[in-house]
Symmetry: C7
Subunit: 103 residues, 7 copies
Amino acid sequence: MAAVSLSVSTVKPLGDRVFVKVSAAEERTAGGILLPDNAKEKPQVGEVVQVGPGKRNEDGSRQEPEVKVGDKVLYSKYAGTDVKLGSDEYVLLSEKDILAVVS
Amino acid sequence: MAAVSLSVSTVKPLGDRVFVKVSAAEERTAGGILLPDNAKEKPQVGEVVQVGPGKRNEDGSRQEPEVKVGDKVLYSKYAGTDVKLGSDEYVLLSEKDILAVVS
Amino acid sequence: MAAVSLSVSTVKPLGDRVFVKVSAAEERTAGGILLPDNAKEKPQVGEVVQVGPGKRNEDGSRQEPEVKVGDKVLYSKYAGTDVKLGSDEYVLLSEKDILAVVS
Amino acid sequence: MAAVSLSVSTVKPLGDRVFVKVSAAEERTAGGILLPDNAKEKPQVGEVVQVGPGKRNEDGSRQEPEVKVGDKVLYSKYAGTDVKLGSDEYVLLSEKDILAVVS
Amino acid sequence: MAAVSLSVSTVKPLGDRVFVKVSAAEERTAGGILLPDNAKEKPQVGEVVQVGPGKRNEDGSRQEPEVKVGDKVLYSKYAGTDVKLGSDEYVLLSEKDILAVVS
Amino acid sequence: MAAVSLSVSTVKPLGDRVFVKVSAAEERTAGGILLPDNAKEKPQVGEVVQVGPGKRNEDGSRQEPEVKVGDKVLYSKYAGTDVKLGSDEYVLLSEKDILAVVS
Amino acid sequence: MAAVSLSVSTVKPLGDRVFVKVSAAEERTAGGILLPDNAKEKPQVGEVVQVGPGKRNEDGSRQEPEVKVGDKVLYSKYAGTDVKLGSDEYVLLSEKDILAVVS
C-alpha cells in the first residue's frame, strides 16, 4: 500500500459521520464562549469541513444531514475520534453528537 | 476559521435539542421552589431561549417540539451540556430531559 | 427572567410524566400500608395532581394516560425527580414508574 | 389527602402489572416445592389477587394477560415491589417476571 | 391459599418458557459429554418436561416453540431459575437459552 | 431419562446457532495463521459441523444461514459455549459471532 | 480437518464485516497523519482487502456496503478482531466501525 497523504479533501466520512476542524482555544475566547469545567459533558467548538452521505435507513434511503460544510458547530468534547493533519486537530463525529450550529 | 461570536440568537440547536438559560439561585428562591438535595435526580429551573426543529422520525418527518421559546421549564440538573455566554449560564438539553413547563 | 412562582397548578408535565404529591408518613400508616424496608424496590404512596398529555408515538399520536388527577398511586421510591413547593413534597414521575392505583 | 385504606380490592395494577399474595414458607414446604438456595435467580410461590389491563401496544391495543385472579404462580424472588397489607406480604410484578402457573 | 402441590404436570410455563429436568452428573458422563470447566458459559444437559405457549408477538400471535416435551437439550448452566420437586432438580428457561436439541 | 449419547450428528442447534469443531493449535500453525495475543477480541479457527434452521423473524420466517457444514470459519474465542465430545472440543455459536469463512 | 491455509483471498467476511490490512507506522507518518495519543477512541489507517455481502435486513435483503476493495480507511484502533497472516497484520471490522475513506 502506498503511503496515505491525508488532507481535508481526501477524508470522506461514512454514513452519518462529519469531519470537523477543532477551533483553537484563542478563537473560542475571542468568540466570547466560555466552556465550563465541571463534571458534565464538555462542549467544544469546531467547523464542519466534510459531511458524510447521511444515516442509512432500513429501506436503504438516507437521512439528509442537518449540517453542511462551513457550519460552526458545538459538540461534546468526549465524542468522536481525534485526527491530526500536520499541526491541525480534527474530529470525526456522528452527527447525533453535534449539539448546535453556532453561526 | 474566524472567531465565533456566540450569542443566544446564533445558537441553533439540532434535532430535538433545546437551548435553555439557567435560572440563578435567587430567582429560584423567589419563586418559592426548593430543590431537595438528596440522592435522586436533581431538578433545575430555566427558560427556553432556542428550540431545535424536533426529533426526526425514520420516515424523515419531524416530531413537533413540546416546548417553545419563553417557556419556563424544569429539567434534571445532570442532563445536557453546559455553555457560558459572558456571565450567563445556559444548557443544551434534549427535549426528553425536560420534565415540565412551570409557567 | 422573572422569578418563577411555582404552584401545583403551574406545573404542566411533558409527555408521559405525572406530577404526584407525596403522602406523609402518618397518612401511610393510617391507611394500613406498611412499606417493607429491604433490598428491593421500595414503594411510595402519593396523589396525582397533574398529568402530562401522554407518551407520543412515532406517528405523532399520544397514548392516553392510565391515571387521572385525584388518583392515589403506588410508585417506586427511587423513581422520578423530587420537587418541593413550600413544605410539601412532590415527585415528577414517568407513568411507567407508577405501579398501581390504590383507591 | 385523606388516608389511603389499602386492601386487596383497592389495588388496581397498571399496564402489565399483577398483584400477587406471597405464599408463607409453611405453605411452600407443604406443597412439596423446595426452592434451592444458590447463586441463580430464586423462585417464589404466590397467588394472583389482582391483574392489570395488560401491556399496551404501540397502536393502543392491549395484550391479554396470561394469568388470572386465583392462579398460583412461580416468580423470581428478586422481581417486583414488595407491599405489606397488615401482616400479609404482597408483591407487584410485571407479568413478564412470572415464570409459570403452578396450579 | 391452600398449599401448592407441585408436580411436573402442574407447572405450566408462561410465554416462551420451558420447564426442563436437569440431568444428573452420571447420566452426562454415561452419555459421553464432558462439560469443560473454564471461564466461558457452561452448558448443561436436561430433558424438556413442559413447554409454554410460545413467545407472543406484538400482534398477539405466538411463535411456535422449537422444542417439545421429551427433547434432550443443551442449555447454559447460568440461565433460568432452578426449582426442586422432591429430590429432583428442574430449571425454568426461556427457549432462547436453549442452545441445541441433543437427541 | 436415558443417558444422552452425544455425537456430532445428534446435536441439532436451535435458531441461528452453529455447532463448530475447534481446530487444534498445530492445524492453525500449519495453516499459517497467527492469532495475536493482545487486549482485543481473539479469533479462533474451526469447522462447521451442524447448522441451525436460522434466526426466526417476527413474522415466523427464517433467515437463511450464511454458513454451511464443512465451512472453515473464524470466530471470536470468547463467544459461545464450549462442549467436549470425547477428546474433541466443539463450540456452539450464534452465527453473528462468526467473523468470516476462511476456505 | 485439513490445515487451513489462510491468505487474503481465502478470507470471506460474513454480513457487514470488512477485512482490512493494517498500515504500518512508517506508512502513516509518510502520509502526514498523526494519530493523537489521548483518552479518546484512537483512529487507525488500513486498506480494505475483502468486503462481506453487507448487513442483512429483516426482510432478507442486504444493505450495499459503503466501502470497496482498495479503499484506504480510518477506523477505531479498538474495534474488530486482529488477524495475522505471516508477518502482516489484518483486522476484521464491522463496516459501522469504519469512520471514513481517506483516499
